[in-house]
Point group: C2
């Protein structure tokens, strides 16, 4: 059959920012969280996740800190910056606007 993306392209940064807005997390945890909350519909591949986190770091929307996990492993914890929180707001409103627009096209008889 058709091979499809596990993600709606263009939404990954927003999903990461939103996940981090709840609590700081390491990369692996972000992927697990999105997968779990989306009920396995959205799967963030490592090859998408880590480049995305690098982008977000470069833009100053998240910051990173090496720590130990509860299970005593080394992991890089990411958290939202003030700029990241602002950016999340922007992306959410743009996303909603776009969804509303797509909805209009899809519902037009």
């Amino acid at each position: 059959m058709e091979k499809r993306s596990e993600l709606l392209p263009g939404t990954l940064d927003m999903l990461i920012l939103k996940t981090l807005a709840r609590a700081p997390l390491h990369g692996y945890g972000i992927a697990l969280s999105i997968k779990r909350i989306s009920e396995d519909v959205l799967t963030v591949e490592e090859g998408s996740l880590y480049p995305a986190l690098q982008r977000l770091l470069l833009k100053g929307w998240v910051k990173a800190e090496w720590k130990k996990t509860e299970t005593n492993r080394r992991a890089r914890y990411y958290s939202l910056t003030a700029a990241g929180r602002k950016q999340l707001g922007i992306e959410l409103s743009q996303f909603e606007q776009m969804m509303a627009a797509i909805g209009r096209v899809l519902q037009e008889t």
Copy 2:
């Protein structure tokens, strides 16, 4: 400011198929229709539209026919095939599933 796509990537084929499901249209008309119905939020650039139509033709989801427009111009009218109608249904349900999943992630407190 941030430069962003005028479209949510991954939705173009679906929007075209849905537009053609209402009535056959030429390329330019498809772009105008989506722009109008979305109230100027979604803009389909020509460099996105025509390659997309070629893809859809190759997959057999639309067929094309040269005709005259009401204003006496030559134009290529695209219309949905049976396979295209089926494909539209598939894409709509996948899209809704994905939107529901994204919604769960975005609404999680």
